[in-house]
Amino acid sequence: MAVDWRPTATIETLRERARLLGEVRAFFAERGVLEVETPVLGRGGSTDVHLASLSAEATTPAGRERLWLQTSPEFAMKRLLAAGAGPIFQLARCFRDGEVGRRHNLEFTMLEWYRPGFTLDALIEESAELVRCVLGRELGDEAGPLRRRRYRDLFRETLDIDPFTAPLGELRRMAEEQGGLAMGEAPRDDCLDLLLSFAIEPQLGRGGIDVVVDYPASQAALARRHRDPEDGEWVASRFELYLEGLELANGYDELTDATEQAARFAEDNAARRAAGLPAVDVDARLVAALEHGMPEGSGVALGIDRLIQLALGKSSVAEVMAFATPRC
């Protein structure tokens, strides 16, 4: 069989992609947000249980050592914030092992930006503006209104269940029904993840830009937690933005407490060990930067390949990348 050397995107698409990335840079230049570049390789990796990191052996002045390919530029950018960089953005190449599909590619481009002093609500507004800017005037208007949807209400409306208080047995039974697989031993969050991605996600972002807020506290990742005003349940100060059933962005009211950060790294690695996954080296420099002090504020990571896919009316991320993983 002939070797398939051709790009997975047409040259015309690559021209459009370059133009849209120019729009992104103009968007931030207008708002006084500084473009930065941070290393792809780091001594600390992502400890997130659901992310598989790639690593590389390298010879550095410290000798032969293992460096992690970033799953997002979050740690390095937060160190810049602690050093007084002010508002910053980056178009960063990121790597996640095993993630290849219509919506995923092993390496992809993340648009990540941080806004010291911004509330989560202010950043939600700005994220929607960025999305409309990349979609262009016509598609941007067609996208419809920005809607805030509480995680809890989505489960109540779609599945008639309260994700915070429903018994685990019932969540497992519903997840089994939706997914057609055995969830006998599955933890609560895995059941909720399945129900969200199978039953709720496909309907999000239809006729509007949907922003899901108030996730369970157990899914806070690197976001702060606060109490739900309804009944005092702890929730994560986090949002995800959806358009046309696609998850585009993930934003946090950023955790700035060094002790809490170190504790979450340790919790993650304990969970990794329990699941039989390799532990990941913790970014001690991030913890040190938080000890020094990082300004309060919000940050968001947006999968720019997916947004470009929507803007250009394509059906997979491969069609907006020069050489997607199957052809790299």
């Binding site: 290849v100 057609g180 895995d190 399945l194 991605s197 996600e201 998850e247």
Partner: protein, 188 residues
């Protein structure tokens, strides 16, 4: 057989599911922003031809199935089994049951090469070539001068298949037929 984990699932991979050999048709990664990833997989059951949809947690695995496709020539039928012979010069013969033969029974012709799917060295399905040449054994008499107009009529072929053919076709003629659609292509 080796085990295959969800990130090795790709189109064409043969795996065991619920005791039957299956071929993976499609594997879609489903993952919420932060959280557990799932693989939504479509598999064709090679015994029944039915397509199943199943979900697996990322990292789960399935046992591989010892399945292969081989070219074999059709020899004869003894009233119970259909016999095929390998084309690799070994003259090795395989009996095939009616169940495994399925719809291909109506496209059988001696000395034609078929694709036989073997599971643990037993034939489980038979696919005909895309095009096959067969003789018309029965059809209404041909109509002279009616070569351009659209009309058609049924014709029974030597293998037993019935296809729609143009009105000018006569008994005894050999036709080229597309086995996938069951449609007449041309005179051979």
């Amino acid at each position: 057989m080796a085990n295959y984990s969800t990130n090795e699932f790709k189109g064409g991979l043969k795996v065991m599911l619920d005791g039957d050999p299956c071929a993976i048709v499609e594997n879609e990664l489903v993952k919420p922003g932060k959280g557990q990833a799932f693989s939504r997989v479509k598999l064709r059951n090679l015994m029944t031809g039915r397509v199943w949809e199943r979900t697996f947690k990322s990292g789960e695995s399935l046992e591989g199935a010892d399945v292969m496709d081989l070219d074999m020539e059709y020899l004869y039928n003894d009233g119970e089994m259909w016999y095929f012979m390998k084309t690799d010069g070994s003259f090795e013969q395989y009996p095939v049951e009616k169940k495994a033969l399925g719809d291909t029974e109506k496209w059988l012709k001696e000395q034609v090469v078929y694709t036989i799917t073997l599971w643990n060295d037993n034939a489980i399905s038979v696919s005909p070539p895309n095009f096959i040449e067969l003789e018309v054994t029965e059809t209404d008499p041909g109509l002279k001068g009616d070569t351009a107009q659209g009309g058609s009529k049924p014709a029974t072929l030597s293998s037993g298949a019935v296809v729609r053919v143009p009105l000018f076709i006569n008994e005894g003629e050999v036709l080229k037929v597309d086995t996938r659609s069951g449609e007449y292509v041309s005179r051979a």
